[in-house]
C-alpha cells in the first residue's frame, strides 16, 4: 500500500476521493460546534483547516485510521510534528522573502537558506518518526514514503550542494578600507582588534556593569548600494563560490516534495485539536477514543461534558460538571426535564458534539464512550428570534420538524430542545406525543429537552433524565443530569425559593 494522505485511509473499505465540505453543517450553531471549531482552527488560520472539520466520516475504517494516527501523535509525535511545522513555516517565509530582495546575491542567499532548512527538516522528521515507533497505518506508510524520498538521487544531491555552498559562503572573510570616498575590498590579514586594545588599557577602572554605548543597528536584511558594491567586491575576490551559488538557484527552482507539503497542512487537523483540548485536560477532565458502531444502538458515555462550555469554564477556573448517559436494549431517546438552568440544554449539546467529534475521528470528552455512527445529525433548538406571530412560529417549527423527519433515517441522530413553547399546554402535550410516536417509529437515536412530563415515560424506547438539585438546598443546581422519573413539583418550589417568591419570602419582602 502506498501513502495517500494523513486524513484518509487507503484500504478497500475506506471512502475513496471523499468530497471535502466547504459549508458549515446545519447542526453547528445549535450544538455550539461553530464556536468550538472556530476556536480550534483560528490559531492555525494559514492552514485553512475548517473544511476538514466540516466533513464527517461515513465509514468506521476511516474513523479508526484517524484515531490511530491521533494516538501516535498524542503518545510520541506531538513535539516532532510541531517542530516540523515550525520549520516548514520558516522555510516558506524564506521563500517569500527571497523574491523580495533587490540584489541578486541576497535573493540567492535567502533561497539557499530555505533549501537548507528544507533538507534539515526532512531529515529531522524522518529520524523523529523512526525513533517514535509509530503504530498507526497512516504514519507507518508515511515513514516508508519518507525513507524512499531520503534515498532518492534528487534529495541527496540537493542536500550535498546546499551544505557545501553554505560552508563556503560563511567562511569568507575580507577587509574594507575606507578613506574619504574611496572604498577598497581586500583579502583578510591577521589584524588586532583595536576596541579590545582600548579596553585593556582602561581595564583597571572596570567596576561592575555600565551603560552599553553600542549603537544598535536596525540591521535591515536589505542592502544599500554601498554594501552591494562591497559584496560585488567580495564576489570579485571569491569568483568560484559565487558562480556556484548562481548555478544552484537556476537548477532547483522547486526543490520540495508535494506529498510532504500536503502532509504539512493535513496533519495540523490533529495538532489543532490537541492544542485546543490541552488546558481542559490539564484541569483534570478526561478525553477518550470512543468505540464506534454502525449497527448497535446501545451507547453510553461516562464523565462527559460540553466542550465549548468546558473551555470557557476552565479559562475562568470554574469547576466543570460531568455527566453520564447510557441507552440500553430498546432505549433510543433520552427525555431531559427538570429546573431551568439546570444543565439540560448543555446535556443535549454534549450528546450532539460527542457524536460529531467521534465522526471526525477525534478523541471525545469523557472517560469512556461507546457511540453510534450516524449518517446525519439533526437539531432543532427553540429560536427566540424571528417571532412573527405565535401561530407563525408554531407553524414554522412544525414545518422544520417535518423536514427533519422526512430526511432522517434509522441511522440519524435527532436533538430537540424546548419545542412548541409557543402554544397552549394541551397543544404542547398533544404535539409532543405525536412527534414522539414518529421518532420511536423510525428507530433513530435522540435527545429531547422538554418540561412535558408526559413524554418522559412515554414508552420503553424513552429514558427519563432529570437535571438534579442539591439534596440539602433545593435551590442549588448541581448541573448533574440523572436517570430518574420526571417530577416537576419539587423543582418548581426550589426555583421559587431561589427567586425568593415563596409565600414566606414574599411576606417578608412585602413588609418592607
Amino acid at each position: 500500500m502506498i501513502f495517500t494522505g494523513i486524513l484518509f485511509g487507503n484500504n478497500e473499505r475506506c471512502t475513496k476521493n471523499k468530497t471535502i465540505e466547504t459549508e458549515m453543517p446545519p447542526c453547528f450553531v445549535d450544538l455550539n460546534l461553530d464556536q468550538i471549531i472556530h476556536a480550534i482552527t483560528a490559531p492555525k488560520e494559514e492552514y485553512n483547516l475548517t473544511p476538514f472539520y466540516y466533513t464527517i466520516l461515513n465509514s468506521i475504517d476511516d474513523i479508526v485510521y484517524r484515531q490511530k494516527i491521533m494516538q501516535d501523535i498524542e503518545n510520541t509525535l506531538y513535539h516532532p510534528i510541531g517542530r516540523f511545522a515550525e520549520n516548514m513555516c520558516e522555510m516558506r517565509k524564506y521563500l517569500v522573502k527571497s523574491e523580495k530582495f533587490y540584489y541578486k546575491y541576497q535573493q540567492e542567499s535567502c533561497f539557499l537558506d530555505a533549501a537548507d532548512i528544507y533538507c534539515d527538516l526532512i531529515e529531522t522528521l524522518y529520524s523523529d518518526l523512526t525513533n517514535a515507533k509509530v503504530k498507526s497505518q497512516g504514519f507507518l506508510l508515511f515513514t516508508k514514503y519518507l525513507a524512499n524520498y531520503l534515498q532518492s538521487e534528487s534529495f541527496i544531491s540537493l542536500r550535498e550542494e546546499v551544505k557545501t555552498l553554505k560552508t563556503a559562503l560563511s567562511s569568507i572573510q575580507y577587509r574594507i578600507r575606507i578613506n574619504g570616498l574611496r572604498v577598497q575590498v581586500v583579502y583578510p590579514n591577521a589584524e588586532t582588534n583595536y576596541g579590545n586594545e582600548i579596553e585593556t588599557v582602561f581595564a583597571k577602572f572596570r567596576e561592575g556593569a555600565v551603560k552599553d554605548y553600542l549603537l544598535k543597528y536596525s540591521d535591515p536584511e536589505d542592502m544599500n548600494a554601498v554594501e552591494a558594491q562591497i559584496l560585488d567586491g567580495v564576489a570579485y575576490l571569491y569568483p568560484d563560490i559565487f558562480s556556484r551559488l548562481d548555478i544552484f538557484c537556476e537548477k532547483h527552482p522547486r526543490y520540495w516534495d508535494d506529498t510532504i507539503v500536503i502532509f504539512d497542512r493535513e496533519v495540523q487537523f490533529y495538532m489543532a485539536y490537541i492544542d485546543y483540548i490541552e488546558n481542559i485536560r490539564q484541569s483534570g477532565l478526561k478525553f477518550c477514543y470512543p468505540e464506534i458502531s454502525d449497527s448497535d444502538k446501545k451507547i453510553h458515555a461516562f464523565e462527559t461534558f460540553d466542550l465549548a462550555l468546558a473551555k470557557k469554564l476552565v479559562e475562568e477556573n470554574t469547576t466543570v460538571v460531568v455527566n453520564d448517559f447510557s441507552l440500553r436494549d430498546k432505549e433510543r431517546i433520552m427525555v431531559v426535564s427538570g429546573p431551568n438552568q439546570g444543565g439540560k440544554t448543555t446535556f443535549a449539546r454534549t450528546f450532539g458534539q460527542l457524536h460529531f467529534l467521534a465522526c471526525l475521528g477525534l478523541p471525545v470528552p469523557g472517560k469512556e464512550a461507546r457511540l453510534f455512527l450516524p449518517d446525519k445529525i439533526f437539531t432543532h433548538f427553540e429560536k427566540e428570534e424571528n417571532i412573527k406571530s405565535l401561530n407563525g412560529k408554531l407553524q414554522e417549527e412544525l414545518i422544520r420538524i417535518y423536514t427533519v423527519l422526512q430526511q432522517a433515517t434509522p441511522n440519524s441522530i435527532v436533538i430537540l430542545n424546548e419545542i412548541f413553547n409557543s402554544t397552549t399546554l394541551t397543544d404542547q402535550i398533544f404535539l409532543s406525543k405525536k412527534i414522539m410516536e414518529k421518532l420511536i417509529h423510525s428507530d433513530l437515536l435522540g435527545v429531547w429537552v422538554t418540561f412535558i412530563d408526559e413524554i418522559a415515560s412515554f414508552a420503553e424506547q424513552t429514558v427519563s433524565m432529570v437535571s438534579a438539585v442539591d439534596r440539602e438546598n433545593q435551590s442549588l443546581r448541581t448541573y448533574k443530569i440523572e436517570r430518574k422519573p420526571a417530577n416537576g413539583l419539587v423543582y418548581a418550589l426550589s426555583i421559587a425559593r431561589k427567586y425568593r417568591l415563596t409565600y414566606r419570602f414574599l411576606k417578608e419582602r412585602l413588609n418592607k
Binding site: 530582495f101 546575491y105 541576497q106 540567492e108 542567499s109 537558506d113 559562503l169 560563511s170 569568507i172 572573510q173 575580507y174 577587509r175 574594507i176 578600507r177 575606507i178 578613506n179 574619504g180 570616498l181 574611496r182 572604498v183 577598497q184 575590498v185 581586500v186 583579502y187 583578510p188 589584524e191 588586532t192 582588534n193 583595536y194 576596541g195 579590545n196 586594545e197 582600548i198 579596553e199 588599557v201 582602561f202 583597571k204 577602572f205 572596570r206 567596576e207 561592575g208 555600565v210 551603560k211 552599553d212 554605548y213 549603537l215 543597528y217 540591521d219 536584511e221 542592502m223 544599500n224 548600494a225 554601498v226 554594501e227 562591497i230 559584496l231 560585488d232 567586491g233 567580495v234 575576490l237
Partner: protein
Amino acid sequence: MKPQLLYKDTDYNLQQELPWNEQSLIQDLELEALFNAMALGDDFLFKVVKSVILNGISNDVTTILYRREILKDCIKNPAEIKEMYKLAISAIEKEKENFWGIFGNYPRSILSHSRHTLFMFADRLQELRTIADKHSGQFNSEGFKKFFYMLQTELTDEYLFTIRKYLKDSDFDKGILMTSELGKRNKGVRLVLNKFQEKKQSWWKQKIEDYLLYKAIKQKNKQSWLAKLFNVELTDFTFFISSYDEGGIRALSELEDQGLNLVANALAQSSDHILGFFKTLQTELAFYIACLNLYEQLLEINEPVSFATPLDINERRLKFKGLYDICLALTTKQKVVGNDLIAPKKNLFIITGANQGGKSTFLRSIGLAQLLMQSGMFVPAEEFEANICDAVFTHFKREEDCGLKSGKFDEELGRMNDIINHISFNALILFNESFAATNERDGSEIAGQIVKALIEKHIKVFFVSHIYQFANHFYIQHLNCALFLRAERRSDTTRTFKIVEGEPLQTSYGEDLYNKIFPEDIQV
C-alpha cells in the same frame, strides 16, 4: 580601582535599599535633625549620611573599627579631605558639561565626546596622585594608607602617558580599516576595527593615487604604466562614491560608524568607569565630610563625643556614661542631660515613671547611639560600650489620625506584625508606650505576650510604658535578664530628666502634669 574608604574590600553602593523601616526610624528617632546638621543644606551629603547611617546597622565590628580609624585621620587632616572631595566633584561636573545630548548617539560623536572627557579625567587623576605623593605621610589609618598606595602604583606617569597616547590615536583622521565576514543574506557581519598601520600620506600623493585608481577602473586597465610608476596596488577591488551621491555618502558613513561602534563603546564605557571611580570617591568622602560638620557643631555647644566600643553581636551588654540625645542637643543648641548605665547580660529594659521625665528622650538616645556606633561614627556620650546588633526597630505610639480606639489598636498590631515579619534574633527593639490604645488589661496581656516571646529569643528590648500591670508582671518574676528603670523624681515633684534604676510604681505622676497644666484646680 576602588577607593574603599567605607568598606575594607568593596565600594559603597549609594543605590542600595534602605532598611524597610527607615520611615519609622527617621520619625521615631527624629533623625532628620541629625542628618540636617551633618549635611548643612547639601542634598548630596544628606543622601549619603542617610544611607550610610541607616544601613550601618548591618556592619560588622571590623568595618566599624575600619571607619573609625579613617574618621580619626579626617579629624586630623580636614584640609586634605576637603581638597580631594572638591577634586572628585570637579571631575564629575566637568563630565556633565560634556553631555552629548540628542545628536550624540552615533559612534563617531560618542567617540569624540569620550576622548574629550577622558583627556580631562587623565588630568584629574594626575592631580589626585599628586595629593597622595605630598600628604600620604600624615595619614595613619589602614584605609587611607591603602588608598594612597593604590593611587601611587596604579596611576604612574607611564600609565597616564599611555592613556593619552591611545586617546590621540583614536581620532581616525587617516581613514579606517576593518575586517568583516559574510553573514545572513550575504551581508557583512562582525565588523572589527583594525589598528590602522598605514603611514600618513601627503594629501597630493593621496589625490594622485585616487586618480590613478579611478582611471584604471574606468579603462579596466590594471597594468597602467602610471600606476606602476607610483607603485599603486591594483589587485584589490576599489570603487568610489561620487561626491554628489548623498545616499551613498550616508551609507558609507554608516558603515564607518559600524566599524567604530566597538571602539566608541570601549572608550565611552572606560569613561563611565572612571566617572564611577570619582563618584564612589565622592560618596565615600562625603560621609566623612558630613562627620566633620557634625563634629564642629558639637564642639561649639560643648557636648562630648567619644568613639564607642562595639562588642560581639552575640553578647548582651550595655554600658555608658553621659549618654545624651544628640538630636535634642542639636535642635536646642545647648547641652542636654546625660545618663549613665551599667547593664551586663541584660536584654529587657522596662522604663516607667513620670510623664515628661525624659523617658522618650532616653529611649531615643539608646537607638541613636547604636546607629552612630554601627556606622563607624563617634557617639554622643563620654563612654559607650554595647554589643552590635543587626537590626533596629522602633514601635512608638503614634498620635496621628485613627479616632477609633479599635482602629488605632489595629494599626499598632499591624506595625508589630510588620516588625515580626522582619525580625532577627540579634535585633534591638524600642517600644514607646505601645499597645496602650486599649484598656490596661488587654494591652498589658498582649504587650506581655509579645515581650515574653521576644526576650526568650534574646532579642534586646527597651520598653517605655506607663502600664503598671505590664511592668509589674515582669518585675515580680525577678528575671536575670531584665532591668527596670525609672524617670527620676525628687520628692519636691521636680523632674531631673535623669533615668535611674527603680521598680515600677503604680502611678505615672499624671496628676502632677495635670496640676501643672490646670493650676486653677489646685486652688479650688
